[in-house]
C-alpha cells in the first residue's frame, strides 16, 4: 500500500515545530508501524534529510519506551478493540491511500526533546516519592511467610502491568497522570507487604504528581481507553479512597 505520513518535526526543546508530509510507497501490511518509520528514515538518510527521531526499544510492547500520537490517538489504537503500544501496531490496521498524522505526547510535564521524543522523567520522580516498598536487600522473610489471597494478588498484578509509557497523560484533556500514579498505589496497596507505607505512599506520590504540573483527574476515562495494558479507571477510585483516608487519618 502507499500512504502519506504527516510528522511533527522539532529540532530541539526550544525550537518551534511543524507538521511535515512524507509519502511512503510500498508499505507491507506485515510491517509494524515503527518499521514503516524505519524504512522512511533509511530513505531520508540517503536523500540527505535528517531522519525522524522517535523512541523505541523492546518493540514487543513491554518496555514502555515507544509512544506517539497517531491520528489523534496515543499509540494509534483507533477504533480497534485490541489494546496496543505503538510498536505493536501493524500496518494492516491501515489502508492504501491513508494520510496518517504522527505527533509526540503533548503535555507540559513531558517537554519535547526532538521530533517525536519527549522527556518523561517526571514519572520516575513520582515513583521516587513513594512508589516502592522499603525492603532493603537481605531483610526478607521466607516468601511463604505471608500468603496473599489469589484475588488480591491478581488485582495487584493487573495494576502492576503498567509500563509507564505516558499514553494516559497524552490522552487526558487535563494532562493528568492519575492513572499512572493510581496503578502503582493500587499494585502495592493491595499486597500485605505494601501496608506499612500505604498512607505515606499515596500522599507522597500525589503531591509529586501535582508538583510536576500534571492536571487533576475529572474521571473522563480517555486514559484507560488508550492504555496499552488496560489499567482500569477504578484504580483511580482506589487512589482517591486511600488519599482521603490518609489525609483524614494520617496516623493509623
Amino acid at each position: 500500500m502507499n500512504i502519506t505520513v504527516r510528522v511533527w518535526r522539532q529540532a530541539g526543546p526550544k525550537d518551534a515545530g511543524k507538521m511535515v508530509s512524507y509519502d511512503v510507497p510500498d508499505v507491507s501490511e506485515h510491517m509494524s508501524f515503527l518499521e514503516m518509520l524505519d524504512v522512511l528514515n533509511e530513505r531520508l538518510t540517503m536523500e540527505g534529510d535528517d531522519p525522524i527521531a522517535f523512541d523505541s526499544d523492546c518493540r514487543e510492547g513491554i518496555c514502555g519506551m515507544c509512544g506517539v500520537v497517531i491520528n489523534g490517538v496515543p499509540h494509534g489504537r483507533g477504533d480497534s478493540p485490541v489494546q496496543t503500544t505503538t510498536c505493536q501496531l501493524h500496518m494492516r490496521s491501515f489502508s492504501d491511500g491513508d494520510v496518517i498524522d504522527i505527533e509526540p505526547w503533548r503535555a507540559d510535564p513531558f517537554p519535547v526533546v526532538k521530533d517525536l521524543v519527549v522527556d518523561r522523567s517526571a514519572f520516575d520522580r513520582i515513583i521516587q516519592s513513594g512508589g516502592f516498598i522499603s525492603a532493603p536487600t537481605g531483610t526478607a522473610p521466607d516468601a511463604h511467610a505471608a500468603p496473599v489471597p489469589k484475588a488480591a494478588a491478581d488485582h495487584a498484578f493487573d495494576a502492576a502491568t503498567c509500563i509507564g509509557c505516558g499514553a494516559c497523560v497524552a490522552a487526558c484533556p487535563n494532562g493528568s497522570a492519575m492513572l499512572f500514579t493510581a496503578a502503582k498505589v493500587t499494585h502495592l496497596g493491595l499486597l500485605p507487604q505494601g501496608q506499612p507505607e500505604r498512607k505515606s505512599r499515596v500522599v507522597g506520590m500525589v503531591h509529586q504528581h501535582d508538583e510536576e504540573g500534571f492536571g487533576g483527574c475529572t474521571n473522563i476515562g480517555e486514559c484507560t481507553a488508550v492504555c496499552p495494558k488496560g489499567i482500569p479507571l477504578e484504580t483511580i477510585s482506589r487512589l482517591n479512597r486511600d488519599l482521603l483516608g490518609a489525609l483524614l487519618n494520617p496516623q493509623t
Binding site: 538518510t45 526499544d57 520516575d124 521516587q128 512508589g131
Partner: protein, 655 residues
C-alpha cells in the same frame, strides 16, 4: 606466547597466551565455598562506605539490583542507562519466569539439583563453584522479590505457584503471568528509585558509556555521552561495574531490544578485559518467524508455552494443507518422537536445532518454509480455553497482534531466533574482570550458564549477581580505597576522551553511501549464516574474511547525518555497529578455534551418530578468555581449565 600454526589451522588467526590459573574460588566442600569467600572478603565499615564510589552501567536486573543494594549499604553510586528511564532495560521483556530451589512442590528439588541441572544444561562448560552459589542465592531472591511486592502468580491458598521449564523435571519456576521480567525489574527499579530519593544513587538516563578509563592499572572511570546534548562527560569512581547486558544484536535480528549493544563491554575489552566464550550464543526455539527484509526485531514466545503446546511439522514436505486439516497420522511431533523422556521440554539448543533440521528437510511451514507449529489444540481440549487463556493469554494476544492470526484456532508458527549470549567479559569468582576494579554482572559477564542457558535462569543470575554476589565481593576490593583522586588531566582520561571524540568526528565526516542499518543488517546475515545454529570450519573462515572487509567498508562508506550536539540516533547506532563488527570477528574466531560442539555452539564436524552435539572434553574443557591483541593484531587466547569434582561429565541425554 607462540603463534599457533599447525596443519589444521594453517592461516592462524590468533595467538595463545598463558592459562588462567586462579579464579579466586575457594577450595573445599562446594556448599561451603560461598560462605568461606564471604568470610574471607575484607569488609568496609559503614562510616567508610560513604567515602567510596561506584559507577554502574546499565539498569536491568543486574544493574538496578546492584545499584539499589550498594546504595542501601551506603556507598556513593552513580548509575547510567541509555534509555529514558531505568525501568526500560531489556530485562523487562523476559517472559517465562525465574528458577529457585525452594522445593515448594515437594518434587525432589534442592539446591544441589538446581546446581546439577544447570551444569548439565550448560553442557559442562560452566564453573561448578559459580553455579552452586547461584543455586544457593536463588532461594533468597524469591524472598527478596516477594518482600518488594513483586506479584508472582499464586494459588487459591495464597501461596506461590510454580511451573516447569525446559531441561528439568521439577517445577521450580516462579512466574508472573508471561511478564516475569517486567515485574522483577519493576521491583528492582523501585528499590533503585528509593535510593535515588535517599540520595545514595545518582541516576543519569539517556547517557551512554563510550569508553572505560583505566588509570594506573585500575578501572577508575568512564567516558559518557549525554545522548540529548551530545556532551562528552567523564565520571570517576573507586570501582566500575558493567551490567550492560548481552550482545545478541550482533545478529541484527534478535529478541533483544533495539538499543541493546556491546559497546560498554567491548570498549572494556579493548582496554584489557578478557572476553570469554564469545561464540556461546543461545538461539531460542520459540520465536515468531521473520516476515520480511524490513523487519527490525524478532519476538519471543515464552518457553513456558512448551509446557502445554505441542511442536510438530507435517510428515511430508509435500503436505500443504492448513494445519487443522492435517490428521494426526500425518503429523510428526518430532521432539516427542526423538526425546520421549523430555519431549517438548528439551533444552533450548536441542529444540532449536531440531527445528532447523526438520526445516532443512523441507518440512517447515509458513512463508519460506522457515517455521514449525506450536499447537495448543490438545491443551485447549484438555484444560478448556479459559484455563489456557489464564496461563498464556497475553502471549496469545501478542502473537495475534503481530501475525494477524488467532492461535486459539490455528497453531502458532515459530522458528528459532537469537535470544541470549552466554559469553561475555571474563570474571573471577568475585565477578571481577581481568582489569582490577572492573566488575561485570548479569548477561554482560560470561557467567554461570556454560555453553547453554536453561530457561528461567537469566533472571536468577542477574538478580543473584546484583543483590547478593557483587555486594559481598566488591567490598574486598573497595576496602583498599578510596584510591587517589583522578581527574581529566590524567593521561588515561585525556586519551579516552580524545578517542571518543575522534570516533564521533570520524562517523560524522565519512558521509558515505550506506546507512548504519544497512551495515548492521549485512553483519547480521553473515553471523546468522556462518556463526548461527550450525557452524563449520569453512563457513567461519569465510565469515572472518567477510567481516574484515565489512569493517573497511563501514569506516569508509557509512553515512551519519547531523551533528554530535543533538539527539542523533544514527550516530548512537554507528558507534554500536562499529563495535559489533569487531565483536563479530572475535565470535567467529572463538567458534573456529573451539573444534567441538557444546550447548549452543554446534560445529557440524563434531556430532554424534544421531546428530547431537559431541564435546571433546580432553581438548576443550576450558573457558576461552580472549585478550585484545591491539588494533589489527591477533587476539590472544587464555584458557581457564574447567574441573568437575561433583557432576560427572557425560554426554547430555534428554531421551
Amino acid at each position: 606466547m607462540s603463534d599457533v600454526i599447525n596443519s589444521v589451522d594453517a592461516d592462524s588467526v590468533y595467538l595463545e597466551g598463558e592459562d588462567i590459573a586462579d579464579t579466586k574460588a575457594p577450595a573445599g566442600p562446594i556448599e561451603k565455598r560461598w560462605d568461606e569467600r564471604r568470610f574471607n572478603a575484607k569488609l568496609v565499615n559503614p562510616a567508610n562506605r560513604r567515602k567510596l564510589s561506584v559507577i554502574i552501567i546499565g539498569t536491568g536486573l543486574a544493574g538496578a539490583s546492584a545499584a539499589a543494594t550498594l546504595g542501601e549499604a551506603g556507598y556513593q553510586v552513580t548509575s547510567f542507562c541509555y534509555q529514558d528511564s531505568p525501568r526500560r532495560a531489556h530485562s523487562i521483556a523476559a517472559q517465562g519466569g525465574i528458577n529457585a530451589a525452594k522445593n515448594y512442590r515437594n518434587d525432589g528439588d534442592s539446591i544441589y539439583r538446581l546446581f546439577y541441572d544447570t551444569v548439565k544444561g550448560g553442557d559442562f562448560r560452566a564453573r561448578e563453584s559459580n553455579v552452586y552459589r547461584l543455586a544457593q542465592a536463588s532461594v533468597e531472591i524469591i524472598d527478596q522479590c516477594v518482600a518488594q511486592g513483586v506479584p508472582f502468580a499464586r494459588e487459591y491458598g495464597g501461596l506461590l505457584d510454580n511451573r516447569s521449564f525446559g531441561g528439568v523435571q521439577v517445577s521450580r519456576t516462579f512466574y508472573a503471568r508471561g511478564q516475569t521480567g517486567q515485574q522483577l525489574l519493576i521491583g528492582a527499579y523501585q528499590a533503585l528509585e528509593r535510593q535515588i530519593a535517599a540520595g545514595t544513587v545518582k541516576m543519569h538516563t539517556r547517557h551512554e558509556m563510550l569508553e572505560l578509563i583505566v588509570a594506573d592499572g585500575k578501572a577508575r572511570g568512564v567516558v559518557i555521552r549525554d545522548m540529548v546534548s551530545g556532551e562528552i562527560e567523564t565520571h570517576y569512581a573507586d570501582a566500575v561495574v558493567l551490567a550492560s547486558g548481552g550482545y545478541g544484536n550482533v545478529f541484527f535480528l534478535s529478541t533483544n531490544a533495539m538499543g541493546c549493544n556491546v559497546t560498554a563491554t567491548w570498549r572494556a575489552h579493548r582496554k584489557g578485559a578478557y572476553f570469554a566464550n564469545p561464540c556461546y550464543t543461545q538461539i531460542h526455539p520459540t520465536c515468531i518467524p521473520v516476515s520480511g527484509e524490513y523487519q527490525s526485531k524478532l519476538t519471543l514466545m515464552s518457553e513456558s508455552l512448551r509446557n502445554d503446546g505441542r511442536i510438530w511439522v507435517p510428515k511430508s514436505g509435500e503436505d500443504k494443507r492448513p494445519a487443522p486439516d492435517i490428521p494426526e497420522a500425518d503429523r510428526d511431533y518430532y521432539l516427542e518422537r526423538i526425546y520421549p523422556a523430555f519431549g517438548n521440554l528439551v533444552p533450548r539448543d536441542i529444540a532449536s536445532r531440531a527445528a532447523k533440521n526438520v526445516c532443512d528437510e523441507g518440512r517447515g511451514v509458513g512463508p519460506g518454509g522457515l517455521g514449525v507449529y506450536l499447537d495448543f489444540a490438545d491443551a485447549i481440549a484438555r484444560l478448556g480455553r479459559k484455563a489456557v487463556e489464564a496461563k498464556y493469554g497475553n502471549l496469545f494476544d501478542m502473537y495475534a497482534q503481530i501475525t494477524g492470526e488467532n492461535p486459539y484456532e490455528t497453531p502458532m508458527r515459530i522458528y528459532p531466533a537469537v535470544h541470549y549470549t552466554m559469553g561475555g567479559l571474563w570474571v573471577d569468582y568475585d565477578l571481577q574482570s581481568s582489569i582490577p576494579g572492573l566488575y561485570v554482572t548479569g548477561e554482560a559477564n560470561f557467567s554461570d550458564h556454560g555453553a547453554n542457558r536453561l530457561g528461567a535462569s537469566a533472571l536468577m543470575q542477574g538478580l543473584a549477581d546484583g543483590y547478593f554476589v557483587l555486594p559481598n565481593t566488591i567490598n574486598d576490593y573497595l576496602s583498599a580505597g578510596p584510591f587517589e583522586k583522578i581527574d581529566d588531566s590524567h593521561p588515561a582520561a585525556a586519551e579516552a576522551v580524545a578517542s571518543v571524540k575522534g570516533r564521533i568526528e570520524k562517523f560524522l565526516s565519512i558521509n558515505g553511501s550506506r546507512t548504519v542499518d544497512s551495515f548492521h543488517k549485512e553483519l547480521g546475515h553473515i553471523m546468522w549464516d556462518y556463526c548461527g545454529m550450525e557452524r563449520t570450519e569453512e563457513g567461519l573462515r569465510k565469515a572472518i574474511t567477510r567481516i574484515r572487509e565489512l569493517k573497511q567498508e563501514f569506516w569508509s562508506d557509512v553515512r551519519v547525518l547531523g551533528t554530535n550536539e543533538e539527539l542523533n540516533q544514527a550516530l548512537e547506532r554507528a558507534g554500536r555497529v562499529a563495535d559489533f563488527i569487531e565483536l563479530g570477528e572475535l565470535m567467529c574466531i572463538d567458534a573456529l578455534v573451539r573444534r567441538e560442539s557444546c550447548g549452543g555452539h554446534f560445529r557440524a564436524e563434531s556430532q554424534t551418530e544421531d546428530g547431537e552435539a559431541l564435546r571433546h572434553d580432553d581438548e576443550y574443557a576450558h573457558v576461552s578468555a580472549w585478550e585484545f591483541g591491539g588494533e589489527g593484531g591477533k587476539p590472544i587466547l587464555h584458557k581457564e581449565p574447567l574441573v568437575y569434582e561433583y557432576v560427572e561429565m557425560k554426554q547430555r541425554s534428554y531421551k
